[in-house]
Amino acid sequence: MLGGARDPILVPEISQHEIQVRQGFTGADLLLFGAILSPEGSRAAGDYDIVVVLEGPVRSIVVREKQKVAGVWVNAQASEFRSAPSFFAIASNRPIRQIVDDKTAAIYELGLDWLQLSPIGVIEPKLQQRFSAGLVDLMKRQGLYQQNEGGVQIREQVLYQARISLPSSVQTGTYTAETFAVRRGKVVASAVTRVEVTKEGFERFVAVNAQRNGLIYGLFAVLLSVAMGWIAGRLFALV
């Protein structure tokens, strides 16, 4: 279905292929844009719907649910997911439900309702749904999951663009930006670009050392705090 002769030409681009997390990082704004042309090479955007998905590295997670037990809110039930994206943003030029049917949306993971979280172990579908909904809701409010129907603007029948903002709490790793062209409910073209989010400079140095050289890192932290306490004591003794 993809890549045939009668498929449109989709040229995606992204404003930044590398995001550096360093001191002063407060998040980043990404512009995902591109052009879509009909197979014959003429302006064609009017005939297609555009959906843009930016997905961060997946990780295995535990989602815990609090319940009131004997008057106290404690973590009661838990569910594990093998592949929860640490970031997921989707933008489209009109509501997803009007663009594709549920089956297609599920296949291409078009929308927060269709995330493939791969639960670990046997779990009741109803319970799993509750946990996925809880996860999505939580991540949404942290700005890590976004669904912006109407976030894709199409200009002059050829250019499309979508703005996606990453909060400062994003994980580092490789992010994939996938653009889908949909016609009459069928995905007719898709293209992938990548964004690398990396810690740089001092931040990278700290994160790497905290992971690998725990002993030296800890000693340094201890010495630093002793030194700062001692210096402050000395300074104030002079006052």
Partner: protein, 302 residues
């Protein structure tokens, strides 16, 4: 400011201010102030583990200058301190195991909260009661009859008695060792120095002389929080050096200012204020346990 371990961007001034606030308290009352830092950091959005791990190094910084000052005045019983520290190091090790176990069970937050409520509530209540009695007596002009300095009868029954000269005690080292262990566990779990538990315990359970209690407790806190920072750096890897430095900047200067305040104020009043703060935190935490939490769901990576 971006915190490289917490993966979070924060307002540096807020953190420095937070450090200054707890430093002020630690200077005024001789407690580490960790019992305030950790919950406030969590409230600010820092992950609980990172908050507890980084608060420990802040307490180290805040207690250094205090410990030096007491050492110069001879207010530290080093033998007793060494035993307490040994216990404390054992405690942080046990605490680390417990931390990992509770984390795996998903109950670490609840346990931390309950510990806060029980400990802060209990100690705060006792302090409030004691300082109120003292204040009332002061107003009437009748001094409170001095409590007879004696250690708990259980302590006397422990074997291997040893003479601690500066504390004026002849007791088994097992008692301070156990006390040190208990505070070590609490330090690891709650990110606190444990001074507000250690001081009353040394006074009323061990029966130590009042002159060396605060100094020795600071000595123990200093080393135990150092051990805690190391333990966190090696196990949870959650010590955020940027967060710790920001907190330290605030708290070491706050501690000095607080110490000068403390010299001017009356001790009973100070203790009453501290009791009020401690009780306030405890009540807030207790309500938090009973109220429907903001987030029903929490996410942890495997």
């Amino acid at each position: 400011m971006y915190l490289p371990i917490a993966n979070l961007s924060v307002n540096g001034l807020v953190i420095v201010g937070l450090g200054a606030l707890t430093g002020l308290l630690s200077g005024m009352f001789g407690v580490g102030g960790g019992f305030l830092t950790t919950p406030l950091l969590i409230f600010y959005g820092v992950p609980p583990t990172v908050a507890a791990a980084s608060a420990a190094s802040q307490v180290t910084g805040a207690s250094v200058s205090g410990a030096f000052a007491h050492a110069r005045r001879g207010g530290i019983d080093y033998q007793m301190g060494a035993v307490l520290v040994a216990g404390g190091v054992i405690g942080t090790g046990l605490g680390a195991l417990l931390f990992r176990l509770l984390q795996a069970l998903g109950q670490i937050d609840t346990v931390i909260n309950i510990l806060y409520v029980v400990l802060l509530g209990g100690i705060g209540g006792l302090m409030a009661q004691e300082s109120l009695t003292a204040l009332r007596a002061h107003r009437r002009g009748v001094p409170v009859p001095a409590r007879k300095r004696r250690h708990h009868p259980l302590i006397a029954s422990l074997p291997f008695r040893y003479r601690f000269y500066r504390s004026g005690l002849y007791i088994s080292p097992l008692a301070p060792l156990l006390l040190g262990t208990a505070t070590g566990i609490l330090t690891m779990l709650m990110g606190i120095g444990g001074g507000f538990i250690l001081v009353p315990a040394m006074l009323y359970i061990l029966g130590m002389g009042a002159g060396v209690v605060v100094g020795t407790s600071l000595f123990q806190i200093l080393f135990v929080t150092m051990a805690t920072t190391m333990m966190h750096a090696l196990t949870t890897r959650a010590v955020d050096i940027v967060l710790a430095v920001l907190l330290l900047i605030g708290s070491v200067s706050g501690a000095q200012v607080g110490a000068q305040f403390a010299q001017k104020a009356r001790p009973e009043q100070l203790r009453l204020i501290l009791a009020a703060i401690v009780l306030g935190v405890a009540v807030r935490m207790a309500l938090g346990l009973g109220w429907r939490p903001d987030e029903i769901y929490t996410v942890v990576s495997l």
